[in-house]
Symmetry: C2
Subunit: 232 residues, 2 copies
């Protein structure tokens, strides 16, 4: 198909498709003339993936490039799969929220957290208590940073609340891994793209569930009766 048809099929304007081609996010079509090329279903699929990673997962173009690189060159064994997938997930998310001009000090990588830091100790203790991974894992450093950031902003998660989050994570992860397909390339795609694209789903579900949980609290409370129709 011509690029105009690719635009129609993917609902992505031609100038954006040309931009993706220039940036290497989309593989070239088969040239049919000096200034013309034809595209096939692999281009439709790739464009849809790029759009989903940008719009739904909120990745930067640089992070999308990292994800595509892993998908195009999957690790050689199934064992390396999750490691490679998580490396790109970690790198991709590190790229978020860096619109800010300064702040080199608190933008230090998670590896920079000193071991005596209380948030680091709390993250390590949680990970150990769940039987998760070892202490030197970059993810543990990231968790410590996130707990520290929340604590600095006055949000100090109770042990009980954190345990609920960890229990939820364990259940979700078990379902995630159980659904990984057999083939290596398909498995990489499933873990990387599947996690990135279902993260926002999980966060939206959390908000939807918060509304009901809040409505239940409201209706069991004495004051402030609600006059809006259709509410339970």
């Amino acid at each position: 198909m011509r690029i105009s048809k690719l635009a129609e099929r993917t609902e992505v304007p031609v100038p954006t498709l040309k931009y993706y081609l220039r940036e290497g996010l989309l593989h070239p079509g088969r040239a049919t003339a000096r200034t013309q090329a034809v595209y096939d279903s692999s281009h439709v699929e790739r464009v849809r993936l790029v759009r989903a990673l940008i719009e739904s997962a909120g990745l930067s173009l640089g992070s999308v490039r990292g994800v595509l690189a892993v998908l195009d060159r999957p690790p050689a064994t199934r064992h390396d799969l999750l490691g490679a997938a998580q490396d790109v997930l970690l790198a991709g998310e590190g790229g978020r929220g860096q619109q800010d001009g300064g702040g080199a000090a608190s933008a230090a990588p998670p590896e920079g957290v000193p071991p005596e830091d209380p948030w680091s100790a709390r993250a390590s203790a949680l990970v150990a208590s769940r039987g998760w991974c070892s202490d030197d894992e970059p993810l543990v450093g990231r968790l410590a940073e996130q707990l520290r950031a929340a604590g600095a902003a006055g949000i100090d998660l109770s042990e009980e609340h954190l345990t609920v989050l960890a229990d939820a994570a364990d259940r979700v992860a078990a379902a995630d891994i159980a659904s990984v397909p057999a083939g290596l390339a398909a498995a990489v795609r499933h873990v990387v793209v599947g996690t990135l694209l279902t993260d926002p789903v999980l966060l939206t579900l959390r908000r939807l569930a918060q509304q009901r949980a809040s409505a239940e609290t409201d209706s069991s409370a004495a004051g402030e009766m609600d006059s809006r129709p259709g509410q339970v």
Copy 2:
């Protein structure tokens, strides 16, 4: 304290603090001379909040401004609290991932999803089956968009997998709402900032838990024995 001391306390460089002041993310200090001002603990607290929202939650400066506006002018009744909180959460996240130049078609707002869309029907069915909120909720539109984006990228969540995510969301939300403090301003802060700053914690926990779930699958599988030390 002088601005240099504020920089030291918050680990945010003076030029960045001046930028926050110019952008209205930080309230002015008390002027002591034509070019000097002093700052207090309220400034330390605000700077830490801004940093956490940018670095941990990954918000843009514009979204941070929206969050601060709700915190500074909380809704008049507790009933309006979650609605106001979720409006700003929704707006804040809508601002993510818009680094891309084009693609107006698929960047349409969730409200634009036609009701006959299968993803929209699936989102509505899920919400109805959980006893969550009503159909015209923007969050349901957002969920439909996220499911559509995942589906377009080849990630079609099974009913079973989606149910696990929804169950996890229900448990997390119940703990979220149970931990909301009594005071109105504190409650708004807790819901908005607490949700934004614990979202990344939840996603990191998911990845940590995936590693263990994957290791369990590996060790129960026949092939590819692992020779790395210290792994179970």
